[in-house]
Assembly symmetry: C2
Homo-oligomer: 242 residues x 2
Amino acid sequence: MQKRIPVSPDSTRCSTCMLSEICLPLGMARNDISRLDELIKERIRLPKGTALFHRGDKTEAVYGIRSGSIKTQLEDASGQVQITGFLLPGEILGMDGLVDNTHVSHAIALEDSEVCVIRLDEMDRLAMQLPVLQQQLRRLMSKEINRSHLLVMSLGALRSEQRLAAFLLNLSHRLSALGYSPYEFVLRMSREEIGNYLGLTLETVSRLFSRFAREGVIKIHQREVHILDMQALRTLAGSDCA
Amino acid sequence: MQKRIPVSPDSTRCSTCMLSEICLPLGMARNDISRLDELIKERIRLPKGTALFHRGDKTEAVYGIRSGSIKTQLEDASGQVQITGFLLPGEILGMDGLVDNTHVSHAIALEDSEVCVIRLDEMDRLAMQLPVLQQQLRRLMSKEINRSHLLVMSLGALRSEQRLAAFLLNLSHRLSALGYSPYEFVLRMSREEIGNYLGLTLETVSRLFSRFAREGVIKIHQREVHILDMQALRTLAGSDCA
DNA sequence: CGATCAATTGAGCCGTCTCAATTTGGGTGG
DNA sequence: CCACCCAAATTGAGACGGCTCAATTGATCG
């Protein structure tokens, strides 16, 4: 299920990775980044639908997404699920499992994906010589806290159309940072998953997409999205009166 | 407004603090904890209603609450507010401001409060000699991520009565860990603040409190809460069918 | 002791959910 | 290659939960 791949001398490393502008190396000095090559010793290939980790698994590493996309979700005693994030290349996951070194969420690939394994023991070892690495992890964790707080804001303070518009803008923005078009992209998740993430039903999501399309803000066919009027989408996302 | 108080030789320190079972020292060895005394050099006294920090302030420290209680809230461009947490003694705040070393949220005292200042530069310095401290911060940040994810779950997946019941249980649990009664406590925040936090209106919160009281689950008078039937409250919080 | 703010309670409305029927698309095996 | 099947998405009708607006009561604090 999980195919672990050693990083061979000729494969891409942090120092040569295109994602270094987004991922762990962000903002680090060139020769500090080359030290990261010691850190990432393997990758894991995840076919669509498979789990990187489940709740209860021992946390031995955090993971940087190299390609594909992954959802993280909580599951309570009664089986109720809440998706807490859709992660894209360059983003780090697994940082919610560092309290007792046990994962509390599930991470599942939305499409065939590959992640870089950042082992915690290696991390601690290397951080002794490279203090900037600790600060880097601290930044990434802080970012994750902020991401989650923004989702709280979305769920707690926005109406449904604002949530969905903000969701599209957020995706557009992150994909654009990866070098893709901010105007055209493919949703890797179902209506049901979007609804779960945004605290809405799948029907509401579908209706809103249809409405946005009817109003000429987007064009949507199945999972292919075209943003036709970015400004209108921003207006939908922001408060009406602003 | 902010009264900074140097920690004098005779005042309480981490090594003698009652909160060491909850706060930064949690799980650390006795003589590692005594090293923390070097870390906390001052405290800040916050009268009710005053801010510990605002969005945009430079993040020079994180803070451990010594007494009182503090709310943290986001505020978007249009002035829309979302409360992201109500923090109690022994809990750490400010960890969302470590991305660009600038706070993104506001922290406001719900009552007269006092916090211990954990300066980041001191932290980094000490962590060189005391690697366990880095892991400690990592755990605390992971805990904050989890806290936020649980709020997401509450907002995204629970109905209003479940949210409010879960809120009361959570408070009860945390107060109990501080040595207070899990059955009787005083809410430090208004109905409006509870509503904002839980994604409800203040009227809905008030009505639900009244209903819980009518059903004999709690007794509530203004901000004084008595939990009469803890199990019933758990049932209200959990899924009905479970 | 009045002024002010917080909390309660009610009535009516609106948005989102639920339940259900239909359409569309993708994948699979004959 | 086509027909079939199943999952995903769309769309509609009706119900209900939580919101809005409004009035009243109850605390708190000069």
